[in-house]
């Protein structure tokens, strides 16, 4: 059943200040829930990205206008969450797109007129704040471009904590980044949906299950917790072979 979304409304300045406190409360909740840290979602055209972006931030208060002002909300929530977890247990995720695509997905992100400067300035602030890592979500549509190598290099030179990269990564690309020292950690989203034992499969060179797009978003436990490990799939195949064998010999079942 479809419900019409309500009309969005711009936050007031007081509303922004209130939100900073809600980010802090969420950190207290995460701590109580046993989480090891917080990754602030500042990517994909969502709220913090809307503050950061010259395209979506048309505010006239201290949270809009110059790049400094557009970074203010990010800095305030980093400060608030670091106050609860410690900066060393905080990460920040961006989607620093350098190109757009024909695909009509608002949540892909926003392309700044100068993404290099915008994001390096933001990352420099995070270096000063001492956060544990910066996570960069690269373009992940079919045949999406890599980020420019000049950007990979500049990010590494600017930030001394961990750098985590994602976006249709393959082991080959991760190793390429690792060899050049551009990144420290590498995420594999869709492969991890379909392969709960992804690290083992990569380690042994075992084949990977394909992801089923139809069960990625919403639904039941099917396509969620029933992707087999390599060992489970092999055991299943052996059981299948044992059941088939008597039939092939013509004996009744």
């Amino acid at each position: 059943m479809l419900t019409a979304p309500s009309e969005p409304e711009a936050l007031t300045t007081a509303g922004v200040e209130d939100l900073v406190e809600r980010y802090a409360q969420a950190a207290r909740n995460a701590l109580a829930a046993g989480l090891d840290g917080v990754e602030l979602h500042c990517a994909n055209g969502y709220l913090v990205n809307q503050f950061l972006s010259e395209h979506t931030n048309t505010r006239t208060d201290r949270y809009g206008g110059s790049l400094d002002n557009r970074l203010r909300f990010l800095e305030e929530i980093v400060d608030a969450v670091a106050g609860i977890f410690g900066a060393e247990r905080v990460g920040v995720r961006f989607s620093p797109l350098f190109e757009s695509t024909e695909e009509d997905r608002v949540y892909l992100g926003l392309v700044e007129s100068d993404p290099h400067t915008t994001y390096l300035t933001a990352i420099e602030r995070l270096e000063q704040a001492g956060v544990a890592y910066v996570s960069l979500a690269e373009a992940d549509w079919d045949n999406a471009p890599d980020l420019p190598e000049t950007f990979y290099r500049a990010v590494r030179e600017t930030f001394s904590g961990c750098l985590l990269y994602a976006g249709r990564y393959t082991p080959e690309k991760a190793l390429w980044m690792r060899e050049r020292g551009y990144g420290d950690l590498f995420a594999f989203g869709r492969p991890f949906i379909a392969n709960p034992d992804l690290p083992q499969r990569l380690y042994h060179g075992w084949p990977l299950n394909d992801v089923d797009p139809a069960t990625m978003y919403g639904g039941t436990d099917v396509g969620y917790i029933d992707y087999p490990t390599y060992a489970e799939a092999a055991a299943e195949a052996n059981i299948g072979a044992a059941i088939d064998a008597p039939a092939e010999e013509g004996s009744a079942r």
């Binding site: 009309e7 711009a10 980010y23 046993g34 990754e39 247990r89 991760a174 590498f186 992804l198």
Partner: protein, 152 residues
């Protein structure tokens, strides 16, 4: 291909991670209704994937206005905190390290940074099409959330 480099341990803040392979935030929309509460399925899902050197939860809303998609879990109610506690306990039992990805979508339901880009809002109200890997249903799904309500 020698991928030994992906299996080096690495320090992240106070944590020593067992490899460089990460489970990133992945919206799966399986939380229990009503209340967008983490449940036994989510405990099992994250526990199964705790071989990752580092894990980040699916994007989680910090309050109801921050929810952008159906059935994503929140981190604002007591029930949600208890649900996440079960997830982290299971992950920690398998030696995993797990951070919460959270925030506000700033989408059609919520407070936004600036006045809405109405063109985009209008697109969201039409019935979502099922294109290949990346379309996200905003409200409608073949399965209703009540069918997808595992035991908590």
């Amino acid at each position: 291909m020698n991928n030994a480099a992906l299996f080096e341990s690495v320090r992240l803040g106070p944590y020593t991670l067992k490899n460089r392979i990460v489970l990133p935030p992945l919206t799966r929309s399986r939380s229990s209704q009503p209340g967008n509460v983490p449940n036994d399925w989510m405990v099992e899902y994250y526990s199964q994937r705790a071989g990752a050197g580092f894990m980040v939860t699916e994007g989680t809303q910090i309050e109801p206005r921050g929810q952008g998609y159906a059935w994503t879990p929140g981190i604002h109610s007591q029930a949600q905190i208890a649900g996440w506690r079960a997830v982290t306990a299971a992950v920690h039992a398998r030696g995993g390290v797990i951070f919460s990805s959270y925030g506000m979508s700033g989408g059609s339901r919520t407070a936004r940074c600036s006045r809405a880009v109405r063109r985009r809002s209008r697109r969201r109200r039409s019935a979502p099409t099922r294109s290949a890997s990346s379309s996200r249903p905003h409200r409608a799904k073949a399965c209703s959330p009540r069918q997808a309500n595992p035991r908590r």
